[in-house]
């Protein structure tokens, strides 16, 4: 414990130090240099050893490696929007870069003031979601790596399709911009339409990078993706029963491995090691059955990525996140022999695609499977697709006796949400749930 604690301090210190340096030298070249140094084997393993758990270590190293590749200039870089099948990007040998996820980092790095200001000066509407605005600002400021390809989908929200296009115009690569059109309903013609698009895009990119489509690589990637899925499902099944998490664990931190790393060895490793760590915790819990007085919340949508007290307040009041919507394994096992069709099915299975019924169905399943006492929908300012359905989700959950708090805030822009108000709402919600249990 003490050693782990000490190491945790060191990694925090390294991170803080880096944060300050990057804040002061906000440009692509500097970040490339930092990543290059950080990405050398001895430093990377030293950095890795500062993490308390194996899974944390693997995740942090994998994230840095992935970033380093995107900045290195050695691979063609593909910007990707959030729910893209990254398997195709890995199979094509491209370095993926997820501007929306990296916008989350701009929140953690404390540079959103700068990125948002830049976006505003370029006439991005201030009413737009901060993830997309901050990403757009970072592209304009040339903090993000230069893209060679831009891939987005109409899955979940409209914004990335537009901001990516503007990025493509900026870098004069309009022909390398691809919009994957995910049909509204998952049916035979829909799957075919999407599979055809994926195949066409893959062929086009392969041609442009001077390669042939390597179908072996595709089936290998798909198989890795299946392994990652396998461990993620096993991990989730443990979480159904678990009341104690490792220190510093927050399920809302796993967007990159869950999407960007899908189809890589790293994702498999992260989820496999997490599974074994959580299994141990469950064994400890089972051996000494403490009172399970903790209440379990389901977290919908994302969280604020700057320092905030939300999760401390939950902990202080004996609440844990029973599960998070974003960790739901929504897709069936993929077929290695039919990669394009499989990936089309994966995209079409996403609960955020199509009508709200899909999302509600998924949420209701999670409520049942994870013994949920209440749910919080973090209503990220400017997110039309999620907030637009909040009323329906609330009514549907209330019907099944699960209270929902719609917590207004901003995931990135601290100045756009008042912590005091947020905590008052949270506490009021807790008081309501607690009083109903009396």
């Amino acid at each position: 414990m003490s050693r782990a604690y000490l190491n945790m301090g060191i990694s925090e210190k390294i991170k803080d130090d880096l944060k300050n340096k990057i804040q002061r030298n906000l440009d692509r070249a500097y970040i490339t240099r930092v990543l290059k140094i950080l990405g050398t084997r001895p430093i990377l393993s030293a950095y890795g050893s500062t993490f308390a758990s194996e899974s944390d270590k693997i995740l942090n190293i994998a994230s840095i490696k992935s970033l380093k590749n995107a900045y290195s200039g050695r691979y063609p870089v593909a910007y990707g929007s959030l729910f893209l099948p990254y398997e195709m990007i890995h199979a094509l040998g491209l370095a993926p870069f997820l501007p929306e996820v990296m916008a989350g980092f701009t929140g953690g790095l404390g540079i959103t003031d700068k990125t948002l200001k830049e976006a505003a000066s370029k006439w991005y509407t201030p009413d737009l979601c901060t993830f997309h605005r901050s990403a757009a600002g970072a592209v304009e400021l040339e903090i993000f790596p230069k893209p060679n390809f831009l891939l987005c989908a109409n899955l979940a929200c409209d914004a990335a399709q537009k901001t990516f296009y503007i990025d493509a115009v900026k870098y004069n690569i309009k022909d390398n911009y691809y919009l994957l059109e995910v049909p509204f309903t998952k049916d035979k013609t829909g799957i075919e339409y999407l599979a055809n698009q994926i195949q066409n895009i893959c062929e086009d990119i392969a041609k442009k990078t001077g390669k042939k489509l390597d179908m072996d690589k595709f089936s290998k990637t798909i198989s890795l993706s299946n392994q990652f899925r396998h461990w993620a499902i096993k991990l989730n099944s443990i979480r159904k029963k678990l009341y104690n998490y490792p220190e510093n664990f927050n399920g809302l931190n796993f967007i990159l491995p869950f999407h960007g790393l899908a189809g890589t060895e790293d994702a498999v490793k992260v989820y496999r090691s997490m599974y074994f760590e959580f299994k141990k915790l469950l064994e400890v819990q089972d051996a000494a059955p403490k009172n399970k007085s903790k209440k379990r919340l389901l977290w919908l949508h994302l969280k604020p990525y700057y320092k905030n007290r939300i999760f401390n307040v939950l902990e202080e009041n004996n609440y844990i996140l029973g599960f998070e919507e974003i960790n739901y394994v929504y897709w069936p096992e993929l077929d290695t022999a039919r990669p394009f069709e499989s990936l089309a099915v994966k995209m079409l299975s996403h609960p955020l695609n199509g009508s709200i019924d899909n999302r509600i169905c998924a949420i209701q399943n999670m409520v049942k499977d994870y013994n949920i006492d209440g749910a919080i929908l973090f209503s990220h300012w400017g997110c039309r697709h999620s907030n637009g359905g909040a009323r329906i989700i609330k009514d549907s959950l209330n019907k099944s006796g699960v209270p929902l708090l719609i917590l207004d805030g901003d995931c990135l822009n601290k100045n756009n949400s008042s912590e005091g108000q947020m905590l008052t709402r949270l506490q009021g919600f807790i008081e309501i749930i607690n009083s109903s249990y009396k």
Binding site: I406, S418, Q421
Partner: protein, 257 residues
């Protein structure tokens, strides 16, 4: 046994001392004072004034519950409970049947839904902007140079209104300046303004679902123009406690001990 509830809001602070003997509750004293710059100091000051008014010593108070946005910084409080639970509890003391509480304070407004037993079921609070709060009216009264206290009378006697399209305080202010510039009647502007503040509240009520009886609290509940406009738009009778500003503190005092 005596308990005390302290509600520290952004604009005003209230303290209520309650005598809770033999299952009967009696308000011994209450104080309303501006919060000023220091919420801690304001809390202490209303607490002491209330003690003085009730003729009690601090030791005689069994328990103190703090509520309101400043609730976490009050060292002498035994507990802090959000204003949502406290308001609900306080309102029920005035009107036990209440199912919907509309509270409009200086900087925020909320709508609380209660079950038949008076327990809070659900609530909504306005976002961080000042639209639909007391602050909105204050800014507008300054822009128009008409005292807030006259709003009720003007509202009653004026028939027509000028539509105010902006609900945002900042935009509404400039809209009003431009309306005055165009020579619009100030009384009609006031009528329009009162309706425009109710729009924000009505949309919250629509979101949560209206159930009668409806009770309104908070400093703005003293402004009969707003109460009337709301009542007209929602097509319900709105009950207002004799002292709508102290419901939060009262609820806190009841919940203490």
């Amino acid at each position: 046994m005596f308990t005390c509830g302290i509600d520290v809001g952004s604009v005003s602070a209230e303290a209520v001392i309650l005598d809770k003997n033999n299952d009967k509750k009696k308000i011994c004293a209450y104080i309303i004072a501006p919060t000023g710059g220091d919420s801690k100091e304001a809390a202490l000051s209303v607490f002491n004034s209330a003690l003085k008014k009730a003729g009690l010593q601090q030791q005689q108070i069994e328990s103190v519950v703090a509520t309101g946005y400043g609730r976490q910084n009050i060292p002498f409080a035994n507990k802090n409970i959000t204003e949502i639970t406290c308001h609900a509890r306080g309102v029920v003391d005035f009107f036990p049947q209440t199912r919907t509480v509309i509270d409009i304070g200086g900087q925020d407004s909320k709508v609380i839904k209660l079950d038949a037993g008076g327990n809070p079921l659900d609530f909504l609070m306005n976002d961080k902007c000042a639209a639909g709060t007391g602050r909105f009216l204050e800014v507008m009264s300054k822009a128009l140079d008409i005292n807030l206290e006259n709003f009720s009378e003007i509202f009653k006697k004026t028939k027509d209104k000028v539509d105010i399209s902006s609900t945002c305080t900042v935009f509404a202010e400039s809209e009003i300046v431009s309306l005055i510039g165009h020579g619009a009647d100030k009384n009609k502007i006031i009528k329009g303004l009162v309706y425009s503040i109710t729009n924000r509240i009505i949309s919250m009520v629509e979101r949560i679902g209206l159930e009668e009886p409806v009770c309104m609290t908070g400093g703005v509940a003293k402004n009969m123009a707003v109460v009337e406009a709301l009542s007209e738009k929602l097509e319900v009778k709105i009950y207002v406690p004799s002292e709508p500003q102290i419901t939060g503190a009262l609820g806190a005092a009841i919940l203490a001990g």
